[in-house]
Amino acid sequence: MKASIVVLFAVLVGLSSTPILAQDVSVARGQAVFEEECSRCHVPVEMQARLNARWLGRPGAELYELIRTTMPAETPGSLSNAQYMDLAAFLMRNAAVPVPDVLGAEALAATIITPAAASEEVADEFQWTAFNGSNASTRYAPLDQITADNQNPPVSPRR
């Protein structure tokens, strides 16, 4: 199993045109591995910043390869290749790269690290562009995600 994944990636990185059997990679498993193995030195927000700073435009295969050969720092390569792939998937999702919950190894390796936020529609975003909201100074934002109904714990309205 382990050997077959190494071969699979060798093939991928070697840009072979030979079709490869799908290998399931899981973002959730990657998160569990991160918390177990990586979180003693790293936090997700830091990894997000690193990906944004240095990895934009590069493929998932490179990220997998770097983690596999350098991490954990004390014992590089000591996890399974499947775990390294799960980790790469989690770190990409963590940096807002549109990675599905479960995907094939080939798809992961080929995914280019591009945050989705930049290309998402404007409806997802409302900006507060000045001290008082805007130059019109209304301090008003037409947002309704946070409402009286979704607070925790709920309370009864009062004066």
Binding site: V45, E46, Q48, A49, A96, A117, E120, D124, E125, F126, Q127, W128, T129, A130, F131, N132, G133, N135, A136, S137, T138, R139, Y140, A141, P142, L143, D144, Q145, I146, T147, A148, N150, Q151, N152, V155, P157, R158, R159
Partner: protein
């Protein structure tokens, strides 16, 4: 928040910090070093905001430093923009009309400039004018600068020169009188091409014997063409202001005679203030936070302190063993229908202070919820009105149903909400972000969102 970055001012030297809008991570930090000019500055401190502006694709942050420089920074990197002024800096102290006999420059700014249509407009804030050292002071001129080059485009003289409109309202002339700056936030209307200036009072908040007349354009709202600096209209809300009721203040009740002077209600810092109000463009309702607090107006002659004949005396505000003389509420929020002028609702802001609630003289009395005489920053959304309590308040953020004023949530915060909150949507998530100050600790920026 713009394009994934939250920009805040921080620290006594008014550093600018850029934070990731989702995680709060610091993206960059800019710290000015102004040397002696900082030491002499009348308005130090972290300031009350900064200005983001998209200058033809160059995202720019404009700030006014404690030493009264206008600085332009690249919003993505925090680096000074070389082509603006001198390596990013414009020296605002140059070109001022100084007060005769004064070699100090009593001017600075704690609010941000306003940027609109390629023009950056700067205000002017002096030392508090209750006890001015002299009736002569620097004039609070308002200036417009080119957003790209920092070149001075125009100057609007809030105190006119001889021969200019308004000078006739200075019966004894306006040669030495200063102040009449704009220390509070300005606003602008891009369709009309106007900037609105809330102009403060002229030198001497308490004594106007050296400046007979209505004193235009002090204590007025002035609308300027922001491209040219030409005045379109003005409205003077207090003629010959000796109340320090400059434009950000609103409510009025008759002053009552007291024993040590004149009781002043609202006091100069009562009513509403720089925290401003929130306006709902969909319903036409204006939400105004205000506080009720008295202060004593008294005049003293202190030649050691000031060459002005009378300045504000140091009288303490009378109270009954710590209980204010006026009836509560001490702090409130009022919703006003701007089409009819009607008060739609009014609610108390803040719980009763412990010192009032537990006061021995009030035991057994039901005085209701009094609120606190603090400055509450508001932010308004589709359904809710959020209100902090401001300096002296409790560490909570209140959420009101904006239609009825009913409290729908009391959110415990790690410190008193001392700044005005903002809200934004980023990556599909709504955030509420504000500065809080835990007692005796450094201020923090706190973000709230749904889990």
């Amino acid at each position: 928040m713009v394009n994934g970055m939250v920009y805040v001012t921080a620290g006594a030297t008014r550093n600018i910090v850029a934070l990731d809008a989702a995680s709060g991570q610091i993206q960059w930090l800019w710290r000015p070093d102004e040397g002696g000019r900082f030491d002499d500055a009348p308005r130090k401190g972290s300031g009350k905001g900064l200005t983001w502006y998209d200058n033809n694709g160059q995202e720019t942050i404009y700030t006014i430093t404690p030493g009264y420089y206008l600085v332009a920074l690249d919003a993505r990197t925090g680096r000074e923009i070389e082509s603006f002024g001198k390596h990013g800096w414009v020296y605002l102290q140059q070109g001022l009309r100084l007060g005769p006999g004064r070699d100090d420059i009593d001017i600075g700014m704690s609010f941000m400039p306003l940027a609109v249509d390629g023009v950056v407009i700067t205000g002017a804030a002096h030392l508090v004018g209750m006890r001015p050292v002299s009736a002569s002071n620097v004039k609070g001129d308002i200036r417009g600068f080119d957003a790209s080059t920092g070149e001075l485009l125009w100057t609007f003289k809030t105190i006119p020169e001889p021969g200019e409109a308004g000078y006739e309202s200075w019966i004894a002339g306006a040669d030495f009188t200063g102040n009449a700056g704009v220390w509070a936030p300005m606003s602008a209307d891009q369709e009309l091409g106007l900037v609105y200036l809330p102009v403060e009072s002229a030198t001497g908040d308490r004594y106007g014997g050296d400046r007979p007349g209505n004193n235009l354009f002090s204590s007025s709202t002035v609308a300027l063409d922001y491209k040219t600096g030409e005045r379109r209209w003005h409205f003077q809300s207090t003629h010959h202001d000796v109340w320090d009721w400059d434009t950000p203040s609103a409510l009025f009740q008759d002053p009552t005679d007291g024993t040590q002077g004149t009781l002043h209600l609202p006091s100069s810092t009562g009513g509403s203030n720089w925290e401003g109000a929130a306006y709902d463009p969909e319903t036409g309702l204006l939400y105004v936070p205000s506080r009720t607090a008295t202060s004593v107006l008294s005049l003293v002659n202190e030649p050691d302190v000031s060459s002005v004949r009378y300045i504000q005396g140091g009288s303490r505000t009378p109270s009954v063993d710590g209980i204010p003389l006026v009836k509560p509420p001490y702090g409130r929020i009022t919703a006003i229908d701007m089409n009819s002028g009607d008060h739609v609702w009014q609610v108390v802001n803040g719980d009763t202070p412990a010192a009032i609630k537990n006061h021995p003289l009030l035991q057994g009395l039901d005085i209701g919820r009094t609120g606190k005489p603090t400055r509450s920053g508001l932010v308004l959304t589709k359904t809710l009105l959020f209100a902090g309590e401001g300096v002296g308040g409790d560490p909570v953020l209140w959420a009101h149903d904006k239609a009825t004023g009913d409290i729908v949530a009391k959110i415990d915060m790690p410190g008193v909400v001392t700044g005005v909150p903002m809200t934004y949507m980023y990556g599909g998530k709504q955030y509420l972000v504000m500065a809080v100050s835990p007692r005796g600790e450094a201020a923090r920026i706190v973000a709230l969102a749904l889990p």
